[in-house]
Symmetry: C2
């Protein structure tokens, strides 16, 4: 069987390494890239290199930034007495989209997951402990890891680790999503919704 | 709302321009690219630039190549008396995969589609006519455009255009796909299957 020219095979191969991109999609994307102008293709290539080279993690909270500290840590208007602990920079963005939270963040870059061999020292947790020692103004730590096994276990671990610090440690609420349907809710969610019921 | 760092937004934006990549997928791909090593990200970026820069169309048949002529046109073992006319370089690859066809190709880079304002002069057709004049050995032209309205119309147009050249002009067969199910075949396909029946 004849192959595509070498450079095209290489491009298809590289695109196929991306998550969720199978060989058919990689081919389709590659042919699309060939149909771009030189300038458009270069912009895509440069965006990849530039993003990879310029982005790093905030030295304070671990959020993505192109400077030493992220814009949230640099913003003196943000409330330094509350830190919201999340798993990823994407989660920071999700929190920011609700435009309600005015505190700061700490990004773990993962969760404790013994099954995958990821322990407490493999996530951005030591820096949280150090940060709490360096920032005595912190009054509350909101644990906003994902509501799944690893996220819950990580939240419990952190809560336990910091229980003697005097800092108030809270967990985001679990329950029925807004717009959700009781009939179709899974039992676990419904149980959490009942347990977390509040007086009106 | 706070945005991602500028270079990350730029990457998400560039990835989102690719076909079939929505903003959520673009974000996911962007974060995946950030998780690559510098070397891996550079390889992806370079593959895009290199493919775009090195690839061009074969001066004879219009197939993709990184030289003046594609490997098939350069291969003297291929049968020069048959030319298979296809819509795209991907179709060349599809034909090559069956390992049966030993003739040459001509890639139209599209189909005649008056609805989209694409006429006979907007596809790689003039070069086919010139090629047939320059290659008197061609005995058969297999029209292998896709079995849809534009592909059929383009095949009819070419057949009509070349009907006085003395070259045998054939169309690939339409019918039920192997492994297909009569019960679920659309009427058009079934009609073609009946029309194209052959004596056993």
């Amino acid at each position: 069987m004849r192959q595509y020219p070498r450079t095209l095979n290489k491009l298809i191969n590289e695109l196929g390494k991306l998550p969720g991109i199978g060989s058919k999609t990689a081919q389709r994307l590659a042919f699309h890239i060939l149909s771009l102008t030189d300038r458009e293709a270069d912009e895509l290539a440069e965006a990849i290199s530039a993003a990879k080279k310029s982005l790093k993690y905030c030295e304070v909270c671990g959020n993505l930034t192109d400077r030493e500290r992220c814009p949230i840590c640099e913003d003196s208007a943000r409330d330094g007495s509350v830190i919201c602990v999340v798993e990823s920079p994407q989660d920071v963005m999700a929190m920011e989209r609700i435009r309600e939270y005015r505190g700061r963040y700490h990004v773990l870059h993962g969760t404790i997951s013994p099954m995958d061999g990821i322990g407490p020292n493999d996530i951005n947790l030591v820096s949280l402990v150090r940060r709490l020692q360096a920032e005595p103004d912190v009054k509350e730590l909101i644990l906003a890891t994902n509501p799944n096994i690893e996220g819950e276990a990580t939240a419990m671990y952190i809560a336990n680790l910091l229980k003697d610090t005097g800092i108030k440690i809270t967990r985001i609420a679990h329950g029925l999503p807004i717009g959700g349907d009781l009939e179709y809710a899974d039992e676990e969610t419904l149980l959490k919704a009942i347990e977390g019921r509040r007086e009106l």
